[in-house]
């Protein structure tokens, strides 16, 4: 029983912000971050193909 409590607490800390925000906030943040990463990698690929 205490094991379950410990696991939940650990997951709450380890998993980070995703476990502490509401779903719409999480989805909005995920979209922004995903979009930023996508843009970054697309620009990297374009720069690579040019040089």
């Amino acid at each position: 029983m205490i094991f379950l409590v410990a696991v939940l607490a650990l997951a709450g800390i380890l998993l980070g912000a995703a476990a502490h925000t509401t779903l719409p906030v999480f989805l909005a943040a995920a979209t922004v971050i995903g979009g930023w990463l996508l843009a970054f990698f697309v620009r990297e690929r374009l720069a690579r193909n040019r040089s």
């Binding site: 939940l8 997951a11 380890l14 980070g16 995703a18 779903l23 906030v25 971050i33 970054f40 990297e44």
Partner: protein, 94 residues
């Protein structure tokens, strides 16, 4: 990371630069993802990788500095959420 480092570095110093560039990009990516997931893990990783990249003379200083900043932001976000919620437990769907 081949996507973000020169394809075939010739001299050892160029190879070092390529490694440092890869570390700078890794620091940025980890810092960015760490804003949302695994804050406690990716935050320090991003800070360390960014610091290493700067120490090894990366050409992508801005990216490394951004990675360090994001790493610090990861930890700040986690600390803020924990203190605001007064709990470390999972809240399904808020």
């Amino acid at each position: 990371m081949n996507l973000t480092a020169p394809a075939h570095p010739a001299t050892p110093s160029a190879r070092r630069r390529a490694d440092a560039d890869g570390m700078a990009v890794a620091s940025f990516v980890l810092g960015l993802i760490g804003l949302l997931l695994f804050n406690l893990v990716f935050g320090p990783c991003a800070i360390v990788l960014g610091g290493l990249a700067l120490a090894r003379g990366t050409g992508r200083r801005g990216r490394a500095l951004l990675g360090i900043g994001l790493g610090i932001a990861d930890l700040v976000v986690l600390a803020t959420l924990l203190t605001v919620h007064q709990a470390v437990f999972w809240q399904f769907g808020g």
